[in-house]
Symmetry: D3
Subunit: 165 residues, 6 copies
Amino acid sequence: MKKLTHFDDHGKAIMVDVSKKDETLREATACGSIFMKPETFRLIIDKKISKGDVLGAARIAGIMGAKRTPDIIPLCHPLAITSVQVDFSPVRGKSRIDIRATVKIKGKTGAEMEAFTAVAVAALTIYDMCKAVDRGMTISDIHLKEKSGGKSGRFIWEGTTKPKK
Amino acid sequence: MKKLTHFDDHGKAIMVDVSKKDETLREATACGSIFMKPETFRLIIDKKISKGDVLGAARIAGIMGAKRTPDIIPLCHPLAITSVQVDFSPVRGKSRIDIRATVKIKGKTGAEMEAFTAVAVAALTIYDMCKAVDRGMTISDIHLKEKSGGKSGRFIWEGTTKPKK
Amino acid sequence: MKKLTHFDDHGKAIMVDVSKKDETLREATACGSIFMKPETFRLIIDKKISKGDVLGAARIAGIMGAKRTPDIIPLCHPLAITSVQVDFSPVRGKSRIDIRATVKIKGKTGAEMEAFTAVAVAALTIYDMCKAVDRGMTISDIHLKEKSGGKSGRFIWEGTTKPKK
Amino acid sequence: MKKLTHFDDHGKAIMVDVSKKDETLREATACGSIFMKPETFRLIIDKKISKGDVLGAARIAGIMGAKRTPDIIPLCHPLAITSVQVDFSPVRGKSRIDIRATVKIKGKTGAEMEAFTAVAVAALTIYDMCKAVDRGMTISDIHLKEKSGGKSGRFIWEGTTKPKK
Amino acid sequence: MKKLTHFDDHGKAIMVDVSKKDETLREATACGSIFMKPETFRLIIDKKISKGDVLGAARIAGIMGAKRTPDIIPLCHPLAITSVQVDFSPVRGKSRIDIRATVKIKGKTGAEMEAFTAVAVAALTIYDMCKAVDRGMTISDIHLKEKSGGKSGRFIWEGTTKPKK
Amino acid sequence: MKKLTHFDDHGKAIMVDVSKKDETLREATACGSIFMKPETFRLIIDKKISKGDVLGAARIAGIMGAKRTPDIIPLCHPLAITSVQVDFSPVRGKSRIDIRATVKIKGKTGAEMEAFTAVAVAALTIYDMCKAVDRGMTISDIHLKEKSGGKSGRFIWEGTTKPKK
């Protein structure tokens, strides 16, 4: 059975030693969705109604969140992020907004957690800005879409460990 | 149609003015789940195999994450948190770990975002610590379970805006 | 001659003891301006040209900056901010954007520094987002416009210590 | 007309992709001034009177502020700062203190924002420490004095976009 | 045997629930020392030789450190600090500098950790600023000197659990 | 007499300019101890009694603390940490827990302060988690055990500046 790399042989949590790994260009894309009532969806999408740019604020929050990753995820290495992009795709019939974050770094370890954190923070920000009208919104399906660079190579999500409900 | 409270009449983002609201005891509980491969689930649950306490680290991260909420969610008020509790319920047959965070404050506005952030950060930490063995883990169903205190009163989640897939 | 309150009798820097002051509602408004080339001004004001919302991002940054005040100003007390509002007034003929931030707290000491920091961070963000097209932008005239609440009472800026150039 | 680099073609805010830029030695110097009453100026300059080192504290704050730049400016890249220097030049006849910050990095993008932030935080700290005796102090003329390194080459401030009052 | 309050009945780490405790004025004083070579001691004490104010910088760092306590100590409550004071007593014959920090809050739980953190950060800053001339400096005897306020009442250190070497 | 490198020729605090130093692999180990009552020691060591993992939480805190070093130590350079390891050795007869942190970086300056901060934060966390049963615990003997890499070469602690009591 594989071993969890974040523990040493005595079960103690460690920040994995990447001192001798090469610095390469690495890229990771994470996705997620936030589900809501149709009225909430309309408020977000049609800025004429809401008179406010929820997604603009959530994008800024997601980008800033990516930079805070090593502050909030205990064993993450601090990384020199070279690019963050956060995109939203409203899915009209489903009252759902899909969130996608791509992070690039030149470094010794991957940017998956930065991409995940960007998605999570963007979703939390949407919830925060709309919670007064819709407390039942749900954040779901946050997963790694793709990553490249580094020794473990390319990963493309095939949904294998996704929940089957 | 209801209005988004985080924008003024000109559509500008604001931190909602709660200056004149009463300080009351408020409590919020958020839930979420992380889905994974059966092998990963066993590694997390059976510390004899993994030789490491993934959930212990994720709990600490979730509690600390709750405290960072106003730093990462743009329009959140800074709140004097008086209690944070983060619990994990492994669901054996489903290779799923359910996460539940309850936050209490004595303040002028609710603790929903703190509870959400605790769940999200705990889930991200589990992902981080296990990603070397299972990149396909998925974080889902983060939602507000219950809240009480404050003028808007009690809320209990009834799943209305949850995704139906 | 008046004494600087941030030092004790031996000249040592201290965080002023406000333990026994009353908690009252306090409000402070700070203003400032950023000057730029006419072309830059047009890019910011006319979102159709720039295809981006500089001021929206700067507003979010200013609000978040207000919350970081005790982290960056050494002797500031941590305060429970209850409201932040950041407004921009483009002054067309002068290629100047005026920035105004109002912060409210219920606390034992005033919110001036939070309002100042909001203005400064909003201005720095505008600079950052436009620096590729205009490195010569200048941030000026950051001052306290008004404050109320607390023992020292109301202050309204009369420009007395403003630079006369 | 030039384009704002912090937005993509759809007007969405992005952290500019610098992944493929070379790491070079870069340096930036920003300047600014704080204006005050003559009495305040004397209190700051003559430590025998004030019994406290306002500028020493402001210098520490400015250096620490430079390091917090990516935390507070939304689209700034995290940079490995290799040097920060903050200097103050009291201008006696004008009751003005000039602030100058020079930041060096070895990196893929410039250090202008770090230098600006150092100046702004140093100025805010001076205001904070003296506000009890002079609420009318004004922070002005924060601008980029000089920068070198990187593809855009050397910039020396010529005052073109400075306000003409 | 007494129980550790930071764990629930199942051994899970929690932020202790203080929601229903009264807000009272609380005060805590922590002390500690840093030991060094006589030459280093002289450099710090005699600013004419060192041409720099090590203790001034360490005092600012200690005060700021107190404010960061809930960010760095996992289960600490965020507290509204109302006063921080950091003092240094050079002990000439022993080449030792004693550090003492007093923190006051109006709150539901004590300020011990804030006082401890102020002492530790001040000591670390002295080490940092002098390490180029003396890598062997040692930080010792950080302990709670006194605390008052709150249900557990007054505590005065009697050295009982101090190491006897 | 040697000079303090953190001041310029005029006694002004600076972040030392390391722009032109080579990036090399650097490693630093700091140690420290926390002394307590025998009962407290047993509670920490025997998790069956305490029903909680004090040292697990302290280890996470120490690792995260290492990453916060440039935020809390004023003149520290931000460094790309590539490894952190925090170990505890309970010394049964002495009711003492020894703490040891090793930090590695690839960078232009050493990782001593990161190792020190990890030890200090781990010790403060142990104090925090046990203070309800033992307010008299003492943190002592935090010192640099060893460092390597960089121009100043290898350092091994020989206790010369340790306090002799």
